[in-house]
Amino acid sequence: MAPNPKLRARIAEMVHRSGEGHIPSSYSIVDVVAHLYRDVLKFDKSNPNWPERDFFILSKGHGCAALYVVLNEVGILSDEAIDDYGTSWGILGGHPDMTTVPGAEASTGSLGHGFPFSVGIALGLRIQQRKNRVFALLGDGECHEGTIWEAAAVAANRQLTNLVSIVDWNGSASQLMPIDDLPAKWKAFGWRVLEADGHDPEELSRVFGPDSLLSDSNQPLAVILHTKKGSGVSFIEGHGTWHHKIPTEAELDQIMKELFE
């Protein structure tokens, strides 16, 4: 059984009900987002803007259904907000809006924006001599964008060790312009690189544990996660038609069956 079946079920229900969403892209990151909020990030659920919080920026904004269900699980986002996903009266939609969504640190959607934005936050925290950390989650397809590499060079040059880049290497890029060796590219840009299975709780604990995060290195950390689009439901997995497909009633039943069997 896939990890986090309840979160995956919630995502599928949201997308089915609203007719909007990217299920496979959300399934490839839901495990790491859940792990970060459960075990790594400092936050105050009653005050999402708590000054001492860690910043989590979903640079690949189209995976936001995963962020929404995790924010809901940890008590930052209400059940009502989830129920109203994709409606004209709700606050949640196909990409996050930081001006309305509690816990959303950035309004992403256009790829290549959230990561350099994170670099600015990390630099500002350094200037202000604050201890907060910044975690930015990128897609491997997003790594086609030039601003990712501009920002990667700047962060390494400024030794922003309060910044962690997490790359969801689900193979999206390989469909059109493969990025063969993502870890080598991040290393070449001056980052310390760790790799892990992005769906394995033990592996996630390892790469986001104190031994990994509290390094003496003056390089920022890039965590490259080997993931699968649509992970957890066999017929959604991969790069086929499910990228932006809305499940029918029957397909939703099938998804639930696979998730909880």
Binding site: G109, S110, P116, F117, L123, G124, T147, E150, A151, A153
Partner: protein
């Protein structure tokens, strides 16, 4: 002393009292920022040649309460980086100050890649943006100091071709009357004030007197002074080294449309101006030379 030098001196002065001020530059102006960098090593960053990222980083700095000042060459920090300005600053409701050099034909010798005349229109599309064209010494210092913490997106477009006319009372958004006349209203944007005054002086020799109004703040633009003048003269001429679309002429004629009848002439940049030369030569090629302006105005007056 240039406006760019004045910019650096203003940053030095403000940084002494404003601990949130951070300057990011895109590999230009290091020389004039040497003192600033020495005094404020943690608030001066030569980020490199990556203008979109400089804008996104500015948004990130703003997100945690810093007051960013992003500085580099106009077409790269505005036209190239417009999506970052639109989304990271505009959509996210964050604030930053963008200070550019290389306005219009300031880099005349470097060709069209370094010309910039759509930046003002682009920025003005954003509701929370203010757009300033300080075009003489002291103007940047006054306009920046009064605006840089207003919580919006402030664009300051520096020129290397100062108009050289002292404007006694500078207030963001306020239009300044530089000449009094009866027959014609000339509204000049930024550095084109110099040309406007030359045109007005020339026409005075032909017994045509002009109101000359100076616009240093494109947005917000208070048009009441222009309306008052055009109501009197019924003839409007706009002078701007910007694209013909979405610039001063568009804004002013839209604002006055339907209120009363008046004739109007637009002097602006129609398209790429290929070739090289000086600022004045390229302005002439774009149709902004004094003799062409005077000649076309005569036709309006016939």
């Amino acid at each position: 002393m240039t406006l760019r030098n004045e910019f650096a001196r203003t940053m030095e002065r403000l940084a002494k009292v404003d601990k949130d001020l951070v300057v990011l530059v895109g590999d230009i102006s290091h020389g004039i920022f040497r003192d600033f960098a020495q005094e404020n090593p943690m608030r001066y960053f030569n980020v490199g040649i990556c203008e979109p990222t400089i804008v996104s980083m500015s948004a990130g700095l703003s997100r945690i309460g810093m007051v960013p000042v992003a500085h580099t060459i106009a077409p790269f920090i505005t036209e190239r980086s417009f999506e970052q300005i639109k989304l990271d600053l505009g959509y996210q409701n964050l604030s930053a100050n963008i200070v550019s050099v290389g306005a219009s034909f300031d880099y005349a010798q470097l060709g069209c890649s370094h010309h910039c005349y759509t930046d003002v229109a682009l920025l003005s599309h954003l509701k929370r943006a203010s757009v300033f064209l300080p075009s003489n010494l002291r103007e940047f210092d006054v306009l920046f100091s009064k605006s840089y913490r207003n919580g919006g997106i402030n664009y300051f477009r520096l020129t290397e071709n100062a108009h050289g006319i002292h404007i006694p009372e500078l207030e963001p958004g306020r239009i300044c009357k530089v000449r009094d006349g009866e027959d014609l209203t000339i509204v000049a944007l930024g550095p084109q004030l110099k040309s406007a005054v030359a045109v007005a002086d020339f026409l005075l020799g032909e017994a045509i007197s002009c109101d000359v109004l100076y616009v240093h703040t494109f947005k917000p633009l208070e048009v009441s002074e222009i309306e008052k003048s055009v109501k009197k003269t019924r003839r409007l001429v706009t002078l701007e080294e910007l694209s013909m679309n979405g610039g001063l002429y568009s804004v002013v004629t839209s604002a006055l449309a339907g209120r009363f009848l008046f004739g109007s002439l637009q002097f602006a940049v129609g398209d790429f101006v290929h070739g090289y030369g000086t600022y004045s030569q390229l302005c002439e090629r774009a149709g902004l030379g004094t003799s062409e302006v005077v000649s076309r105005i005569r036709k309006l007056l016939i």
